[in-house]
Symmetry: C2
């Protein structure tokens, strides 16, 4: 592209480095910002800089936080002996939105994925083991995605936790609520039959 | 969404004000920036602020520029008596990329669109009329999109230019090069028959 303005070219160049944003979209965004009041551009710039410079990882659960201890870990109302292992902050937000979990989290910061060059040492697994040794943990709940890499990560951590004698569990896999049985894939359906629960349990849960 | 970090929430809020970017995409972009070196966030912030504060409109053609007179208007090689009327900078870039035009541009800054509250006074039409009165213009070429609003804008300006006795033309509408006749819509095909050109002309043009 041949720009009449170096400033515009530079802005398009920088914006198009974001994932999923090409040069054309970047140009559209830049031209949009030029039509908006100066304050909006300044607000976006400020928010991005402050985010990158100010955000830290919670020293206990490794979730993104503004303070050394995140709100969830600092709360007196949460059950600290119940730890839910998740991949990143989006999973924390998803589980928090359900309102069904009163424990605390442990954010791995990713999953083991040799293809992407992410090994166990890149995740916060050691910190989890230290926490189990140090504190009174009644149960570790694995809440990772249902993918091959996530299953590997689950199993890797499970193997390390077993000698420590802590109780572990994973969130239930099965037919999503509201889904038609006919259109559910056979692996999910097969597993949901193997992992069937007593009828009374399913009533008391809902 | 329930954020564990106010800084993250603020960044997502600001980024999601951009057109076509929702909260989920904004969160993905913010988390991406957090994984990148600090320099990248600073570069984006700086580029956006500098763009908004530094870019001006060329005093002659109203195109975006870093200087009072844009590169095209300042160039000695361009034919100043040939003026191409376009909607915005993207059209200038598109025409420049063809390498087929050696005149200068006049950027309207939009098209007449009562639905969006854009009237003739919001565009640089008066500036075009002043330019025609003041300078030696041999031809005004309309290069707006082939939409209803663009046609209205074309006609509105044409009516104002007629008393000034300047030659006007519009870019050719017809079958796009490489297109199959069979799949061309009937309006375009009908117009391309009405606006047929002598065979010799079509050869010399290609």
């Amino acid at each position: 592209m041949d720009f009449s303005s170096k400033l515009l070219e530079n802005a398009v160049q920088e914006i198009s480095q974001l994932p999923g944003i090409g040069k054309r979209t970047a140009l559209r965004l830049a031209l949009h910002l030029l039509k908006q009041p100066l304050q909006q551009s300044q607000a976006i710039s400020k928010a991005i800089t402050e985010l990158r410079e100010g955000v830290v990882f919670c020293s206990t659960c490794h979730n993104l936080s503004d303070t050394e201890l995140c709100e969830i870990c600092a709360s007196q109302k949460r059950n600290k002996s119940l730890v839910c292992v998740v991949e990143d902050i989006r999973d924390v937000m998803a589980i928090e939105n359900t309102g069904q979990f009163n424990g605390v989290y442990h954010v791995l910061g990713g999953i083991i994925s040799p293809m992407d060059g992410i090994g166990p040492q890149d995740l916060t697994i050691q910190s989890l083991l230290d926490k189990v040794k140090r504190e009174e943990i009644s149960e570790i709940i694995f809440a990772l995605s249902a993918t091959m890499e996530a299953d590997t990560t689950n199993f890797y951590i499970y193997k390390l936790l077993t000698p420590l004698g802590v109780k572990t569990s994973t969130i239930a896999r099965g037919i999503p609520v509201g889904d038609d049985l006919e259109f559910t894939d056979e692996v999910t359906l097969g597993r949901s039959i193997l992992a069937r629960v007593p009828f009374e349990t399913s009533i008391s849960k809902s």
